[in-house]
């Protein structure tokens, strides 16, 4: 059965250049102008992103541990500890915890709200300890997704398909970058929404009402964390394009992203530049700049040779 008998159009996207041949077969394409087609197709990039996310959604064994990790750090651990602190009658424990918070910068200490020691301690833990720790989760999730993305294509053999596809290296890189960013940033948004609800319910009554997210945390969530995610991913994808196995990519990613995670934690906890919203804006701007440069340079790491696994 031929395509024609199936009622399919005989022409392809360049049907305007198809010429009929005398032997009755489909005509050949006339030679096109020698212009380069190095343009960037957003639609193709989004197709790659969508395909990545579709795979992720259908891989329960992959996302269930990540959801568990997020739940643990955004909900269960802080919820359990804050419940203990706010309901604790043991003042010695609360005193000890509040003394530990003396390491915070003065500006941060000045912002701690609460009418009781338990309330002040819970507030400080909610804003300066548990939330910064939770920031590590989206970075970890994105790193895990990103590390497997390019080397995974090669390992599964699907890199060959991509190499023969119309997608350019830039589209593939950017598509993968966004696909790795989405689960991490979605975790940030959903995680902090749940976290906000929880800490406001548990700590709010003793801290003078709903307090989270603070203005600094809003800057953190919408400006600083996305920057850190992009910076991390730009590095991780470069690694993923170069290494030979997913395991190697994940190990190397852990090492490379550790300093980034450290810096993001320092900013979130207020240790870096005092933790004000202005310092957040400055740190965010610096991180976004570095991330942009890193992404531009990272595009070069994706080559068709690497997708095929024949790079030297």
């Amino acid at each position: 059965m031929s395509f024609d008998s199936l009622g399919l159009p005989a022409s392809t996207p360049n049907s305007g250049r198809i010429a009929t041949q005398s032997h009755g077969r489909r005509g050949r394409t006339e030679r096109p102008a020698r212009s380069s087609d190095a343009g960037f197709s957003w639609s193709r990039m989004l197709v790659i992103t969508r395909n990545e996310l579709r795979q992720l959604i259908k891989s329960k064994d992959y996302w269930i541990p990540l959801v568990a990790l997020g739940s643990l750090f955004f909900v269960f651990i802080p919820g359990f500890l804050m419940l203990i602190i706010t309901k604790s009658a043991n003042t010695a424990v609360v005193q000890q915890a509040s003394q530990a918070l003396s390491v915070l910068p003065d500006a941060a200490v000045a912002k701690i709200r609460g009418t009781t020691p338990q309330g002040r301690t819970a507030y400080a833990l909610a804003v300066y300890l548990f939330a910064p720790v939770a920031c590590v989760v989206p970075l970890t999730i994105s790193t895990a997704v990103g590390a497997a993305s390019l080397v995974g294509e090669r390992e599964r053999g699907t890199g060959e398909f991509l190499a023969h596809s119309p997608a350019s290296a830039r589209e593939i890189y950017t598509g993968k970058l966004i696909a790795s960013l989405v689960p991490g940033y979605l975790t940030t948004l959903v995680g902090f929404a749940l976290y906000s609800l929880m800490v406001n319910v548990f700590v709010g009554p003793s801290a003078g009402g709903w307090f989270f997210p603070t203005i600094e945390w809003l800057v953190m969530m919408f400006w600083v964390i996305p920057g850190f995610l992009l910076l991390t991913l730009s590095l991780v994808l470069r690694l993923s394009a170069r290494v030979r196995s997913t395991a190697a990519a994940q190990q190397a990613s852990g090492l490379i992203t550790l300093p980034v995670i450290g810096i993001s934690y320092a900013q979130a906890s207020g240790t870096l530049l005092g933790g004000s919203q202005y310092s957040g804006l400055i740190v965010g701007a610096v991180v976004w700049t570095i991330a942009t440069i890193s992404i531009i340079r990272g595009v070069r790491s994706v080559t068709r040779n690497r997708l095929l696994g024949v790079a030297q």
Binding site: L6, P9, H164
Partner: protein
Amino acid sequence: MIKMTATGSDIRRMAKRAKSTIEQGGAELGHGSAVSMCGVTHAFSGKQALDGLDIEVPYGRVTVLLGPNGAGKTTAFRAITGALEPDEGQVESLGFDPVSQGSSLRRRCGVVSAKPALYDRLTGRDNLLFAAELHGMGRRIDARLNEVAGRFGILDALESMVGGYSTGMKTRLALARAVLHHPELVLFDEPTSGLDPESAQAVLALIRDMTVDGSTVVMCTHLLSEAEGLADHIVMMEAGRAVIAGSPESLTERFWPNPVVELEAEDPRILDRIASWDVVISYERSGMVARIEMADLNELPDLVTSLVRDGARLGRIDPQRPTLEDLYFMIRRNEIPERSGVGSADSAIRGLAPVGHNRSHHFDSAETSPIASIDSVVPSHGSTITGDAAGSLNK
């Protein structure tokens, strides 16, 4: 064993015919080429994968790249679509430069690689949808997806995860994905690799179907049986170079210019007398079976009549038609040691000159042949007689 070789005048006649065939071979590409590779080289870590490869792929035909593992077939494939940038040389596919116009070119190409290269965690439909979207077909193409899946016999499995597919189903899905966007150029890299014989036959039939509407097909394989009956144009590769190219008919005419007949007689010694007959170019006998190369098959009835008149009781008369496998090994013997270029008249003459000798070598099943290096091929050494050939004899 008795061996007789052709005379000097016979050799000159054969050489003249070979030259003529080469000229015709050039003409058959005269309509322009879907793919043109000229002096293409590519090395991996110093190892030369392509070494001055010259290929012309005619439009609307099935071109088969034949060669042993490591001949550079897959690398050539990758260079055709621009997936791999050659170190040197020029490639033009469908009139595009695969390097600078790769995206435009690849939109018009469908590729089935040796491994199906499918996303196991996705359903068959998702895999097809991804390919369709990459080729700019949009998302609302359910009818087309069902149509292609139906054609390749995987419609019922389309909603299942590809990870659960059998090898045959994966290959079919990869084939469906490759033709989904109506490619002008379809490339198959070892398409029946890992398939059972039934599935392999079905896949080859589907490939044959693809050319009906005029798509240009390039297939690479080291399985000669795959190419048999499928190839309109053959490019034989060795060590990153095209050793020879042409249609099976032109190659047959060039390397197997004279008909060969096998005769078996009750008293085989009677057969030996035909060695000196004018119509016989070469003669050899091994045991009961004599193989003769004739100038003209029309002379066979007279030859048989004469033998019978002389008292021969013939048990079998088999005109031989060369299979692709026969051709392949004949060409490898004649061309590869010479390291000659594609279509070299001189090489053809060198290849044809010792025909009698080569034939006798070819027919001697006790000898080791250079095919030992070819994977998965058991040489028949001319023992394959096609049904057509046998049928024509019976008539």
